[in-house]
Amino acid sequence: MIYLDNAATTLQKPPGVVKAVERAFAEMGSLGRSGHKAALLASETAFQCRSVAAEIFDSQVEQVVFTFNATHGLNLAIKTLISAGDEVVISGFEHNAVVRPLHHLKANIKIAGRKLYDPEDTIRSFQKAITPRTKAVICTHVSNVFGYILPIYEIAELCRKRRVPLIVDAAQSAGILPLSFRNLGAAFIAMPGHKGLMGPQGTGLLLCGQLPDTIIEGGTGSMSKSLDMPDYLPDRAEAGTQNIHGIAGLLEGMKYVQKRGVGSIAEYERKLVMRMYEILEDNKNLQIFYGNNEAQSGVISMRIAGIPCETAAEMMSECDIAVRAGFHCAPLAHESAGTENTGTIRVSVSALTKPAEIEIFCDFMNNLKKP
C-alpha cells in the first residue's frame, strides 16, 4: 500500500514502537498504583515518556499530561478557559476538535485569518480580532486540510502582549515542526501521539502552562482519602488507568523523532510535497492548494475536475493508494478556502514516506481518467 493519509494517523511506525507495545502487554502493570515490579516498570516507562516529551517540547516533566488524543487535550484546555458566552478568537482553519467544544459551550466565536498561506494577513487579522473581552485565542499550528503553517510564534507574542491565554492545536505539527512550550508561553498545547510523534492510537499529550479544570474525576493513585481531584499536575488531569501500552509505544516513537531531528523531518516532508507539486502542477485537471513557501507542510489538498473527491479516493484505494477525501472534520477550513461545496482529496506524507511513493502517486494522478 502507498499510504498517504498520515494526517489522519501514521500507519508506518518505527520498528521499536510495536516491540515496545508488545513488551508493555507482557510485562507492565498499571502506572502510578502499586509498588510491585510490573507496576514500577510501567511507572518508569511513563516517566521516561514524559521526560522525552519535555526535552522535545522544552517543558517541565510535570507539565506533560497523558491524554487519549489531541481532541481530549483540546477539550480539557478549552473547558478550563472558556464559559458560555465568552469571546474566543480562532483561526479560519480550526478542526472540529476546537469548533465543536466551543459551539457546545455557546462561546462567542470570532474567526481571524482566513487567507491560505498568508502569514502576514493572519497576524494582522489576529491583531484586529483580539479585544479586551477576548477570553482566549485558539489556533492550530498547521491546517489539517491544506498544510498551511500558521505564524504561531507571532500569534503567541501577540497574546502575551495582550495578556490573553493561548491554546495551540499541534495535531499536525508535533514531532514535525520545532515547537517550544517555553518560548511560546501558551496556556496549553494539545497533540496526538499517533501522528507525527509516531506512537499508537489512543495516546496524546497536553502540555499545561496552568492547572486545567477536570472533565473526568476518578482515581489517580494519589491523595486517595481526599474526595477532590489533586490540585497539581500531572495527576489532576489523569484520572483512571492510563494507556501504558500506548505510552510505551509513544516513548519509542518520540525517541525516533528525537534521533532523526524535528526540524529535519519538517524539511524532508516539505521536499516530498514540493516534488509532488513539481510533477503535478502542469496537470490542467488538478487544482492543487500549495503554499510554495515556508508556510506549506507535508499535508496538501487537491481537487480533480469532473471527479468528486470521494470517487477519486475510491479509485485510488482500488490501486492501493491511501488518501482521505471529504471535509476532514474541518468545515471551517473549507469555508475559508472556498472548497465547502466539494471538499478535497488530502494527501499527507510522513517521515517514513519514500520518494518513490510520491512518484507512483503522481503517475496515477497524471493518468487518472473519469470513471
Binding site: 502510578g32 514500577l40 491523595m223 486517595s224
Partner: protein
Amino acid sequence: MYAYYFIFRSLTSAQRAAIVLKQEGFYPTLINTPGTMSPYGCGYALRLKGRDGYAAAQTLRRRSIEYQKVFRMLDGGLPEEVTL
C-alpha cells in the same frame, strides 16, 4: 540503623527526585507510601538508608525538588516524622 522515607505528593515528583538523587550517588528505592506515613491516602515515597538521609535532603533542597514530609523508622519500629 534507620531508613528514611521522603514522601512526595505525586509519583512524577518522586520519580524526578529519584533521578536527581541517583545522579548524586544515592540509592533511593521507590515504594508506595506506607499508610502510617500518609495522611492523604495513596502516594509514593523514596526510601534511603539512614546514613544518606541528611545529605539526600540537602541535595533535594539544592535542586529545588519539594517533598512533603520525611519520616525515619527503625526496622520493626514505628515511623517518626523528622525535619532534616
